[in-house]
């Protein structure tokens, strides 16, 4: 049921208080959270109902948010002087139909716990004596509605499920690994594939060692490239910084690099026709065949940099202030290239399968270091496990050294959903430490 009349009433009440710029936002949500550890099991069922209001005039502004429904009469905080509040004008929203899976009910308790149980079984089948330490499945859906004093009105729906798993391998000290994945629905989580990924990492961590210092072609699994792209976000979001990595001819990466952000990506975890301020979302090509086209720009950054703005203001929840950021940012896959073809092209190098901890990014010095694990590769075949290693290099050199892109596009919940296929990169270094 629409709460538009209530939002309008709130806007009118704020206008009476001479708050000429105002936005009212209401969110209703429900979620189920299931958690299993070695000795405990819990099932939570939550319902959220809350609102947020931003309001101001030339003299000051405030942000107020609370559970329940907004009362037009307040109490409202007194505006405090500061930067003025800016709100978007209404824009036509291209046609969009609500995906059918938005209507599917949340996962049931038994079904969810069964999924978590099967993860443990599959893991042990993949790697005997490996065990899941903690697994958390969250499934939620929500509806939001907003109205602002410029006449903008928007309604959105969301549906997302996340799964977090911590596992330990055999041996003492036991190697550990964790995974965090997101999808629109829990049915997209495949226990066998997830268990295999964890088992690979645990097995490699238990038996692998880092090379002292080595270079060679590196085949990087999607999760590694996604983490690298997440580290590059300061260069891709907002006016100005993107040009830092472009060469004399505007080259940002090799001609295999096409970076896209798309808030209405079909099937995407955050697929929506409008962003957190009600501005229409669309596909934005940030880098095309290695050439930097434009950064990701919110409507209010339009004149600050070359490029077309898009609806890219995210609003994670009612407690959060809207802020620009990627929704589904991804490296465009090459549909004709399989991962095995990329692996076959590695004469001597590495196939790095996962990230094992937080990375270090020094964008000013054009350097990164990311802890990784995987395999040494000779003539397209794995020759030895590699663990405790750091993938190091220049950020510009990494992007320009991409020589092959696979077709296995996978998204990861990082800063928004960041996606990538497997990538074959030259010129990177593998070390025993971050350097």
């Amino acid at each position: 049921m629409s709460v538009a009349p209530l939002l309008d009433e709130v806007l009118r009440a704020l206008l009476k208080r001479h708050l000429t710029d105002a936005e009212a936002y209401v969110k209703r949500g429900r979620s189920r959270r299931l958690e299993r550890t070695a000795v405990t099991e819990s099932s939570s069922n939550s319902q959220e109902r809350a609102w947020a209001v931003r309001a101001g005039n030339r003299r000051g502004s405030f942000f107020a948010a609370a559970t329940g429904d907004p009362a037009p009469a307040g109490p409202w905080p007194e505006p405090v002087a500061g930067n003025a509040l800016e709100l978007p004008e209404p824009q036509p929203v291209p046609a969009w139909s609500t995906p059918s899976d938005f209507d599917t009910p949340l996962i049931g308790e038994r079904e969810g716990l069964k999924l978590l149980e099967s993860l443990g079984r599959e893991l042990e089948a993949e790697l005997p004596r490996a065990r899941v330490l903690r697994a958390v499945l969250e499934d939620g859906s929500s509806e939001s509605e907003l109205a602002n004093s410029r006449g903008l009105r928007a309604r959105t729906r969301n549906r997302i499920a996340t799964l977090y798993i911590e596992a330990a391998g055999p041996g003492s000290p036991a190697p550990t690994a964790s995974l965090y994945v997101a999808a629109r629905e829990p049915h997209h989580f495949h226990p066998t594939a997830l268990a295999r990924r964890l088992a690979d990492r645990l097995a490699v961590s238990a038996s692998g060692a880092p090379p002292e210092r080595d270079t060679g072609d590196c085949l990087l699994a999607p999760v590694i490239v996604a983490r690298l792209l997440a580290g590059l976000l300061p260069l891709l979001v907002g006016p100005g910084p993107g040009s830092r990595l472009t060469g004399a001819r505007g080259r940002f990466g090799s001609d295999r690099v096409t970076l896209i952000d798309n808030g209405r990506l079909p099937g995407g975890a955050f697929e929506s026709p409008v962003d957190g301020e009600g501005v229409p979302t669309r596909e934005v090509v940030l880098v095309e065949e290695g050439l930097f086209r434009q950064p990701l720009l919110a409507w209010w950054q339009e004149s600050a940099a070359h490029g077309e703005p898009s609806g890219c203001t995210r609003r994670a929840g009612w407690r959060d202030q809207p802020a620009p950021g990627p929704t589904h940012l991804y490296l465009k896959p090459e549909p004709r290239t399989s991962v095995s073809a990329l692996l076959g092209a590695v004469a001597q190098g590495y196939y790095l399968i996962d990230v094992t901890g937080p990375g270090r990014f020094d964008l000013a010095a054009d350097r990164f270091a990311l802890p990784v694990c995987g395999f040494a590769v000779q003539s397209g075949r794995a020759s030895a496990p590699v663990a405790g290693a750091w993938l190091c290099g220049g950020i510009g050199a990494f992007l320009k050294g991409i020589v092959g892109v696979g077709r296995d596009l996978t998204f990861h919940p990082l800063d928004g959903m960041i996606g990538s296929p497997s990538v074959l990169a030259a010129g990177l270094e593998l070390r025993a430490g971050p350097g």
Partner: protein, 435 residues
């Protein structure tokens, strides 16, 4: 007090209907929160206010927990939540107890706008001046727990969080009050970061280290408090088997005492309504009483409840520390810095991390000072203290005779963000590795 009109006997009677077995843990947790933030300079939303209230109903039985939470305090949703957690007769309709709560009043936080100027004055008193970006927030929370047999008194908490960012680093702290002492504490920390801005990091080093009270609080929060939480201990086996283990040097006495926390955050009962205890985590370096909540206390007569905490009503409680107290020893400052060898004085830790399975521990410092022959010498840049908990804690050789409130900060284990407080003296460790 928002919950003074809550009909707690009626809630208790209703809860007793779902507690069917003698060992069932059943409770209703009502909370109201208010956060008021002064927006950092340059950001819109001069004053930001978040207000929320709601409840959670929980049933725990034989290691399994069912929880239902809502963002409102009303009779009908309460009865609905009861139905969701009840294991038998879940289709039954439960009585709807009267849940009247006091309305929220107008927002007033006059102390917030005044503090940035007080902080600037305190920085200038150190004869330096530089731009500082301050995020300042007041946190208030009211809690009422109701069990089927016990209705403890309501609890309230009020404290402040402040993050001061400059070009040379960020300093974040929790404060029980905003006064001149708080301004000076933050000023001294940001001035120290400024003065250490060009100091080179130390070369890898093994030797003596003196940790200031703030760094000790972070070290012992990670290495003792987290390590002795019943759920963490359960990852490696039976939690009660930790009791009696010599975990640290004999000079180390560590307690968790929520009733001795700073005024404003002091607690008589925990978030499950159990009376808090002055809990000796380590007595003479030996584990005496791990941190346990009601659920873990049911698993062993050795474990005592009273340390159940909830970051939010939407998640089940868990065993966590509130206010760590490290008892002072007999060493003077001169004793701590004495000896012919050179060492490092580490006044502030920026963060710490413990891998509960391997026991590997890392404590990060933004800067340090060398000491030699009993006197502090030049400043060095960022460094990390690493080791295994069991080894590191046995390397404590002296405890300062002066303990002070220090090291208050946020802890976010398992996604539940909680404030933690500490009273600690300085410590000297021998033979530790710093890189």
């Amino acid at each position: 007090m928002p919950f003074s009109k809550l009909d707690t006997p009626a809630v208790a009677r209703t809860l007793s209907q779902i507690a069917e077995q003698p060992d069932d843990v059943v409770d209703a947790f009502f909370e109201r929160r208010e956060e008021v933030e002064l927006a950092p300079e340059g950001e819109p939303g001069g004053l930001r206010v978040w207000r929320e209230e709601g409840f959670a109903v929980r049933l725990s039985r034989e290691g399994r927990t069912w929880l239902a939470s809502r963002d409102e305090v009303e009779a009908k949703p309460f009865a609905e939540a009861l139905r969701q957690v009840a294991r038998a007769f879940s289709s039954a309709s439960y009585p709807e107890p009267s849940l009247e709560v006091a309305p929220t009043g107008p927002v007033a936080a006059p102390e917030l706008p005044e503090f940035p100027a007080a902080l600037s004055r305190a920085v200038r008193a150190h004869h330096v001046g530089f731009p500082l970006r301050i995020a300042l927030r007041r946190h208030r929370r009211w809690v009422q727990v109701v069990g089927p047999r016990l209705v403890p008194g309501p609890e309230t908490e009020t404290f402040y969080s402040c993050a001061a960012e400059s070009s040379w680093g960020r300093y974040g702290v929790l404060l029980p009050r905003l006064d001149a002492g708080a301004a000076e504490e933050i000023a001294a920390a940001v001035v120290a970061l400024f003065r250490a801005r060009q100091a080179p990091p130390p070369l890898p080093f093994r030797g003596a280290a003196v940790l200031g009270p703030s760094a000790v609080a972070v070290l012992l929060h990670e290495a003792v408090a987290h390590a002795l939480e019943a759920d963490t201990l359960a990852q490696g086996g039976n939690p009660e088997s930790a009791v009696g283990v010599a975990m640290a040097a004999a000079c180390l006495d560590v307690l968790d005492d929520p009733a001795a926390a700073p005024e404003g955050v002091r607690r008589a009962t925990d978030d499950e309504g159990a009376v808090v205890v002055r809990r000796w985590l380590l007595r003479g370096g030996i584990v005496e009483q791990p941190l346990a909540d009601a659920l873990w206390a049911r698993t062993s007569p050795v474990l005592m409840p009273g340390a159940g905490r909830r970051g939010t009503r939407h998640l089940p409680p868990g065993p966590r520390s509130s206010h760590l107290e490290i008892l002072p020893g007999e060493a003077s400052e001169a004793d701590l810095l004495a000896g012919s060898e050179e060492g490092l004085f580490l006044p502030e830790a920026s963060r710490g991390a413990l891998d509960p399975l391997s026991g590997q521990f890392a404590l990060h410092f933004p800067y340090a000072r060398r000491f030699r022959r009993g006197a502090l010498a030049e400043t060095v840049g960022p460094c990390v203290l690493r080791g295994r908990v069991a080894d590191l804690l046995t390397r404590v050789v002296a405890v300062s005779s002066e303990a002070r409130p220090a090291g208050a900060g946020w802890c976010a284990k398992g996604g539940q963000k909680l404030p933690v407080w500490a009273t600690a003296p300085a410590l000297r460790l021998e033979g530790v590795e710093i890189s």
